[in-house]
Amino acid sequence: MYRRYSGSGAAAVGTDKTILNLFNSAASPASRAFLYELIVGCAATPGDQATKFVLGRTTAVGTEGSGYTPVALDPANPAAAWDFGVGHSAEPTYTASSFMLTISLNQRATFRWIAAPGSEIIAPATQNNGLGFKSSSATGTASHDVTMLYQE
């Protein structure tokens, strides 16, 4: 039975700026990750700026500023095998032309994507592979918050 976890991060948007990266650093991961919900919003001063976000496959973790330990949605569950990277100084490596979801969003709006059961976006059980969420272009630089919910 899958266990569910959540993680969040925030970063200023711009050109190819990763906000949150879900990855597994184990040499031989025992499980895949199934992303089933994604929430994006901005808590900065409201403004009419537009950002294009993409969710893409990552094959290298880059250099994260800090990690975010996934929080189990069921407190009885053990620690997650997968991890989140936030605040990257060096971007994760994205697979070219492999974007799982593309979102264009006004800064004033809050966006939420939910997968139907069985239709989650899946990250493979391969070391340092995962799913990265980044801004690919933006008219502003406001910090946006992202929450990912996944199961492993």
Binding site: T95, S98, M100, L101, T102, R112, W113, A115, A116
Partner: protein, 80 residues
């Protein structure tokens, strides 16, 4: 969402400011999601083997996603 087509079997939902604005469909070969928009000009397709939509010409070759994942995890293909 302007132009978005609702799907009979949506694979995902998009909610903006508390209102569901669109459904998403999922590519049976790569697992990616998109909002079907009538008249978008994007080339999509259908796999008669997997019996499901595909996201574009890059996923034309029929390799079911679960199979692709297995091959990738075993190191037999280099990218998903």
């Amino acid at each position: 969402m302007e132009g978005a087509i609702s799907s009979s079997k949506p694979k995902g939902a998009i909610v903006v400011d508390g209102h569901q604005v669109a459904d998403t469909v999922q590519c049976v070969h790569c697992g990616g999601h998109w909002v079907p928009v009538k008249g978008s000009g994007k080339t999509r397709g259908w796999c008669f083997n997997c019996h499901g939509p595909i996201c574009g010409p890059g996923c034309c070759e029929c390799v079911p996603f679960e199979k692709k994942l297995d091959l990738y995890e075993k190191g037999k293909i280099r990218r998903l």
